[in-house]
């Protein structure tokens, strides 16, 4: 009976955490598209919902694995204690994220959950924490925004050289953009296929996956080329770049979807990672090298995110959309594509990164390429501050709740 209660509490806490992820972070992918008028709020929500869910369910397991068993050694903890601990981590992280959101601190759910999982483990025994994994994760928090910045810089410079500088930039964009579509489609299908669809009984090797991915990339490129070809435009005096921006509005829909997909793939773990451990123990599956991630748990995470998007996310998107018009569609395209690529790659590596922070890095990358009129670099200080705060605070919350629950549940 007690076990059931823990599982139910964990499901609720996990749902709340996913709700929070959907409510706040989804604006990262959709804010710019709504702001630039590429998408209506309604369509943005639909795209976000679909791609977040797909990302979570189809690619979400890698990071989930890391949260569930990578940070602490689950084999060294009695399973009842582990269950209570993971429940405490979920509730602690959720509590901190709620407080931080209320205070408008730019904290990351990823960093909160990582801190929270470390928190209860630290109470049991410091040595249970896999410090080398924690070190990798911490490094990924530094590397991922920088990688986002570098990619965004490169993407924007390519666009500048091959599109902006031409006399008829839209004509060139119609040729160059299918190449970007190819890259995006290939990467997404690669993330799905390679070590991806075991759940569905498909297991492709590296080369096999690559082959299929490139093939689907080429098909996407062809479709993209034909669609873009139909775009009609005329320039008037001095509005070449403005017309180009208009053209990019449609392409931004693609990148926004990709970011939503990558976000779902990475961030679903923040809510379902601890739940997976709890459910596995409940089902009597020994927690060892491999955790079994039931599909329904990922779907629950996806569902929570969708719930967050549709109940609160739209307000955040709207608010951001109004203020974000500064990032025009071409700049948004470069920044979002860089974000999607970065987050997706880290997801496949099982590294829980913060999508919000990667997109900030990417926007700065475009800024370095002199693409944006004003970038407020003070955000970097705020983000670093939020890291410094989040880890110990989330640890403390989780540890406190763990002690309380241990007393209640385990006596």
């Amino acid at each position: 009976m007690l076990l059931e209660l823990i599982v139910i509490l964990a499901i609720l806490a996990s749902l709340y955490m996913s709700w929070n992820i959907g409510a706040n972070d989804v604006a990262n992918s959709m804010g710019t598209s709504v702001g630039s008028g590429a998408l209506t709020l309604r369509n943005a929500i639909i795209i976000a919902v679909v791609f977040e869910f797909l990302g979570a369910v189809l690619v979400g397991k890698h990071v989930t694995n890391t949260i569930a068993k990578g940070i602490v050694d689950p084999t060294m903890i009695p399973s009842n204690t582990l269950m209570v601990g993971m429940l405490a981590a979920l509730i602690g992280a959720g509590l901190w994220v709620t407080i931080a959101t209320y205070l408008r601190l730019p904290v990351s759910t990823t960093q909160s959950i990582v801190g929270a999982v470390m928190g209860f483990a630290a109470i049991i025994n410091m040595e249970l924490i896999h410090w080398e994994v924690v070190g990798d994760i911490a490094a990924s928090w530094v590397v991922s925004p920088i990688l986002g910045a570098i990619m965004a810089y490169i993407f924007f410079m390519i666009m500048r050289k091959f599109i902006f500088s031409k006399d008829d930039p839209i004509k060139e964009a119609k040729v160059v953009m299918p190449f970007f579509i190819f890259l995006t489609a290939t990467l997404i299908s690669m993330s799905l296929l390679f070590k991806g669809l075991k759940n569905l009984g498909m297991n492709f090797g590296f080369l096999q996956s690559l082959g299929i991915s490139i093939f689907s990339g080429i098909i996407a490129m062809g479709i993209g080329y034909l669609l873009l070809k139909r775009y009609r435009y005329t320039y008037e005096d001095g509005d070449k770049y403005k017309k180009l921006e208009k053209f990019f509005i449609y392409l931004q829909v693609m990148t926004a979807g990709s970011v939503a997909f990558a976000h779902g793939a990475n961030d679903v773990a923040n809510s379902v990672g601890p739940l997976v451990t709890i459910v596995d123990i409940y089902n009597g599956i020994p927690v060892g090298e491999e955790v079994i991630i039931p599909l329904w748990v990922l779907m629950l995470g996806g569902f929570g995110i969708v719930l967050g998007v549709s109940t609160w996310g739209y307000k955040v998107i709207e608010t951001i959309g109004h203020r974000i018009t500064e990032i025009t569609p071409t700049r948004g395209f470069a920044a979002e594509l860089a974000t999607a690529f970065t987050v997706l790659v880290f997801s496949k590596l099982g590294m829980p990164v913060s999508t919000s922070q990667v997109i900030v890095g990417s926007v700065m990358g475009v800024g370095f390429a002199r693409g944006i009129a004003t970038v407020d670099y003070r955000i970097v200080k705020n983000i670093i501050l939020s890291w410094v705060f989040t880890i110990p605070v989330a640890m403390a919350f989780s540890a406190g709740i763990f002690l309380l629950f241990k007393y209640i549940f385990l006596g």
Binding site: A23, N24, T101, Y102, I320, I327, Q357, Y377
Partner: protein
């Protein structure tokens, strides 16, 4: 709004370039009004003149508001693809142009008397040149914005430099007319009252200043797009 913690919102700010363009539009509109106001003044339609002066005053207030807004929203730590200091001094030059337009109408309204027939034509040309330099200023700022939109493409920078160059030419022409007109005024000093002499010669001086500050603004634009 509470319950938002998305860092991207703190990263981006409204472009000060858009606001700069709005400011330049107000300056241009004021300059056009000034041109019309002077015609009214010459023809002795002082009521019409006063109406235009009123409008210029309103425009000046609006431009001033934009200026303060830009200044307040560019704290240190905000990165721009151009030099922040030069950007602010461009804004301040444009604001001086607007101030001087207002000064000219103010100065005209102090003394509503006919202008000697033989000076009318040169005065009209001088007003025309001032207006032209201000229009070029606006063009230069529009071009600057295109440089930003294009993320500093060489050819867009060239176009901007071209406009600034024309601005220099116009300022020089304005200078020549200014000198000639001052001489003409003093050549008929016997026929003019001391008040008229002072009024007309300072008017010429103010118009010269208009073109000077327009030229300064152009130089700032050029400095902004320099690598």
């Amino acid at each position: 709004m509470r319950f938002i913690r998305t860092p991207i919102i703190q990263t981006l700010r409204k472009s000060p370039f858009e606001a700069l363009i709005d400011h330049a539009h107000y300056v241009r509109d004021s300059a056009e009004l000034l041109r019309g106001a002077f015609d009214d003044y010459l023809e002795g339609r002082y009521d019409e003149f006063e109406k235009k002066r009123q409008k210029i005053e309103e425009l000046e207030l609006k431009a001033d508001y934009i200026k303060s807004n830009i200044r307040n929203h560019l704290p240190k730590g905000v990165w721009m693809p151009v030099d922040r200091g030069v950007f602010l001094s461009l804004l301040s030059e444009m604001d001086k142009v607007e101030d001087i337009i207002q000064d000219v109408t103010e100065w005209l309204s102090l003394r509503k008397k006919p202008v000697p027939e033989e000076l009318k034509k040169d005065f009209e040309t001088l007003f025309e040149k001032s207006l032209e330099s201000i229009k070029l200023c606006e063009d230069a700022i529009d071009a600057l914005n295109i440089v930003i939109e294009s993320s500093f493409l060489e050819k867009e920078r060239e176009k901007t430099k071209e406009i600034v160059h024309r601005l220099h030419v116009v300022e020089h022409e304005s200078d020549l007319i200014e000198r000639r007109l001052t001489r003409e005024i003093f050549s008929i000093e016997d026929r003019l009252s001391a008040a008229a002499l002072f009024h007309l010669s300072k008017l010429v001086f103010l118009l010269g200043e208009l073109a000077n500050h327009a030229e300064n603004a152009g130089d700032r634009v050029r400095a902004l797009i320099a690598r």
